[in-house]
Amino acid sequence: MKHMHGASARALSLGLLALGLVLVAGCREDMQDQPRMFPQRGTTLFADGRSVRPQVDHTVARGQLDEDQFFYTGLLNGKETDMMPFPVTMKLLERGQERFNIYCTPCHSRVGNGDGMIVQRGYKPAANFHDAERLREPLSHFFYVMTNGYRAMPNYRAQLTPVDRWAVAAYIRALQLSQDARTANVPAGTQVEDLSTVAEKLGYPASFAGPWPEPANTAVHTHPNGKIVAGAPAEDANAPEGVIGGSGSTPSQPVTKAPARQ
């Protein structure tokens, strides 16, 4: 049987080797990790490492010809104008309200008084849409500010499309009207009640009608000192914009790269 032990051992080791090779080969997961480009994952294909490609210089993409100067800049002959480039509908206003609540309220607050949460946390005071200065501004001023930023406020070009910006502008105007409403504006026969009366009626606490309190569970560790980081958007108009998703934007900063697996 001596020979045979040798042969069987050889066969066994061959078999094990085969199994090992098979198992090693089995580690490929090329469906799991595909050599495709994914947004924000980055790529080795391009020198800048970006998988989402910036627009090629000196080209105009379909739908980005931006012919309508007023629509895209908010300036008519270089001047802000109290006019919309297109008709306003209820849907547009609803859209404006929605976008305003998302992007503007952190600073300007829901009612637009400039007392948003971030301002409460120490950001430079934001504009109150209901002060005399803002009430005087023409409609396209708001569009212009959203597009280009204003003092400490960064621009929101990346977050808001031109239409959305116009919608928000329209909504700001509606907000101004509502906050500045007089009894005369109330249609005849409509009952208008004081907020505190409503609160009382519905059994809400008295604070319901007062100014918004700070949420109890928000931790504020230090007081902001107002120091501004170098290159912050308000200070430098040419600051790089990290933009994603915006239709007419040109991201010049590498997109965030998130590796698939650690």
Partner: protein
């Protein structure tokens, strides 16, 4: 001549047979458990991030909406991780010397992206699309959980295929009005908290989520108020296209007579939404004709 095997071998042989059976069964059970365990799914694990960003603080505490940062969630397959610039929108002025934010400032200064660790990482063969989900009644919280209560983000669900299919086989149990998508705390209608919904026949005739209006207040007055306030209030806003206004925003186009239905359970609401959002049933989805028309 002694036997080849001694007496104990009988017991040993039987024992080993029984043990083999038990081991096979145990192996089956453990593999079944293992493949669903957080060890495999990474469910509930808090990955180490370059910045200990707290969703709880920003969402629950400051009331920032999801889309403020995840701007592309409504219009692309990716929700989008915000660029450093979005951080700097605020942190240019507040918390400017916080140690925690050093990587953000570094990124801002050097133009180098912050490399976040992906928490919700689907395999590359999955073509998940945020756009269709958020626009057809799936709330953020349905998949991501109560992000507003997570100081450090983690993956609430397994994200395994069975989890996807559990919903796709019966989407009704998770659908909500499109107005409630970003509401983290939405829990579905109940007797105490009913929802009224109405469907408009869209111009195309195909039902979509845009044609469904839902409200959590009794709808009667609201609809009337909308109609009443619209025309006179904004006539002055667009002098330029006044003519167009009169046709575009004419009351004829508005949902003049929406018939609202009151829903007091998620099942009922879900079924209504499945129908009017045009959510495909499994039978339709698994048909070859879905792709091979």
């Amino acid at each position: 001549m002694a036997q080849i095997f001694d007496r104990s071998s009988n017991a040993l042989a039987r024992m080993s047979l029984v043990l083999t059976g038990l081991i096979v069964i145990a192996l089956g059970f453990s593999l079944d458990e293992l493949q669903r365990s957080p060890w495999v799914t990474r469910q509930g694990q808090r990955a180490e991030q370059p910045v200990e960003f707290s969703h709880k603080h920003h969402v629950e505490g400051l009331g920032i909406q999801c889309q403020y940062c995840h701007t592309s969630v409504e219009k692309s397959s990716y929700a989008g991780i915000p660029p450093t610039r979005t951080c700097m929108n605020c942190h240019a002025q507040i918390w400017t010397d916080a140690q925690m934010l050093e990587p953000v400032r570094h990124s801002w200064a050097t133009n180098q992206s912050i490399v976040w660790t992906r928490v919700h990482d689907l395999p590359d063969f999955v073509f998940f699309n945020h756009e269709i989900h958020v626009n057809k009644g799936i709330g953020c919280a349905s998949c991501h959980g109560r992000v507003d209560e997570m100081p450090i983000l983690y993956q609430q669900n397994t994200l395994q295929m069975e989890w996807c299919l559990n919903c796709h086989r019966n989407p009704a149990k998770n659908l909500r009005p499109t107005s409630e998508i970003y509401n983290m705390a939405w829990t579905g209608p109940t007797d105490l908290k009913p929802v009224w919904c109405a469907a408009v026949d869209g111009k195309t005739g195909t039902p979509t989520s845009q044609d469904v209006t839902c409200t959590s207040a009794p709808p009667g007055q609201q609809a009337a108020a909308e109609e009443a306030s619209l025309n006179p209030a904004f006539a002055g806003l667009h002098a330029q296209a006044a003519a167009a206004t009169s046709t575009d925003a004419s009351p004829a186009q508005l949902p003049a007579s929406l018939s609202y239905t009151k829903f007091t359970s998620q099942e009922a609401l879900g079924l209504f939404l499945v129908k009017h959002y045009n959510i495909r049933t499994p039978r339709e989805l698994t048909s070859c004709e879905v792709c091979h028309r």
